[in-house]
Amino acid sequence: MKTERAVGIVGYGAYVPRPRLPAKRIAETWLPSSSRPLPVREKSVPGIDEDTVTMSIEAARNALSRAAIDPSELRAVWVGTESKPYAVKPTSTIVAEAIGATPNVSAADMEFACKAGSEAMQTAVAYVGSGMADYALAIGMDAAQSKPGDALEYTAAAGGAAYVFGPADRALALVEASNSYVTDTPDFFRRQHMHYPEHGHRFTGEPAYFTHIQGATQEIMSELGREAADYRWAVFHQPNPKFVHRITKLLGFTPEQVKPGMVVEEVGNTYAGSSLLGLAAVLDVAAPGDRIFFCSYGSGAGSDAFSLVATERLISMRDAAPRVRQYLSHRYEIREYGHYLRHARKIRMH
């Protein structure tokens, strides 16, 4: 899908909270005698005073610094997440107020498991591409929930990124095209009033993650007449390193193409923030003219694919906010599983 008016990313900003939990802290609590390899080295955990609202605010401020626009110029603030602090009350209005974008602005929370952030991106592209707005902000952010002791607890992490979309002449990266590929696939879900999501174990692989990313990728490649080798970099949703390595190979990309965007080893799976955080890490290193392939995945299920090209402006605006690497090295290790339970609010007090 292409827009009538040329659109680009005019600002981007990442956020990863400082506390980290090494995977071995989980293993020694739940599987003390197991020697199974751990899916990631460590994962990010929200600070005790952090949630999707606070993390979105910092990512949005970073994106606005790189966009160098006044926040009142934004016509939309959309937050894609599956960890809304309120069951009823928008996350996006708090973010919009905090960054100074209110009141002449659209605001809503988007929900589509791990692809809620890219859903917000595509909607922002359409808003700008139709001429309805000059600037729209899309955020993908999560403080992911996981059942204590479950396989997902090793990876369920916190963080994400924000993107300001705007006219192509101010773009740091142009949007060439985007598309979506969606089916009804019950691989991961959480019912109302339940604390933790449920997942379909191996069912989350072949019929879910791989099928949808392949579907979205093949569709956009045929629309643009491209192949994997036409791209310098590629970013996918990162639930764990194994899935990313496999999809990279299946689609004909090389490990070198995905390397700069691979943040899962150090951060874990930031759910709706995952692919957006990976893209921010790629924009941190991309050179003008580099073509970037992006594809998210959200359970339920679907994928959004984007084809992007970095511009000269990326070089001059990149240092207006901290890079993903700076957040990765801004790190404080949680040494006790009990401290993690407190941070992640897994202890019910009443």
Binding site: G47, I48, S65, Q326
Partner: protein
């Protein structure tokens, strides 16, 4: 904190918005409606940049009611680069040796998440300056 008060103060809480006297240029945080220096009522909202240095600090081991879920925590006085002195919680300071004079920056975090009506109070805190421009 009562809901109407929190709502009224949201701009100063969320993004450190104070006021500026248009007659004598003095800046205020929290904002004032009348300038105490020149008595002018010609004051307008002023957005502070959120950077400053640590003027003093202490650790709160026994948090007051409503802050228990977040404590213990550090509280600091921060000299903003524009002048005013702000008292605020410090955050992201686990394992950090706080030093008077260190550079800090404003972030928006949860101040209280268990108020009597169940709403979450978000507001400014300061953390050691993250390297990297903003």
């Amino acid at each position: 904190m009562q809901l109407p008060r929190y709502h009224r103060l949201r701009r100063s809480f969320y993004r450190l918005e104070g006021t500026r006297c248009n007659r004598c240029d003095r800046l205020f945080f929290p904002g004032r409606r009348i300038c105490p220096d020149c008595r002018s009522q010609d004051v307008e909202p002023y957005q502070f940049r959120g950077r400053g240095t640590l003027y003093s600090f202490t650790n709160v081991q026994q948090p007051p009611r409503g802050f228990g879920s977040i404590g213990p925590y550090a509280v600091g006085m921060v000299r903003l680069e524009e002048g005013p002195l702000v008292t605020s919680q410090l955050t992201d300071v686990d394992g950090v040796d706080l030093v008077i004079g260190m550079e800090v920056e404003m972030v928006t975090r949860k101040i209280q998440d268990s108020s009597e009506h169940g709403y979450i109070v978000y507001g400014y805190k300061f953390r050691p300056l993250l390297t990297g421009a903003r």
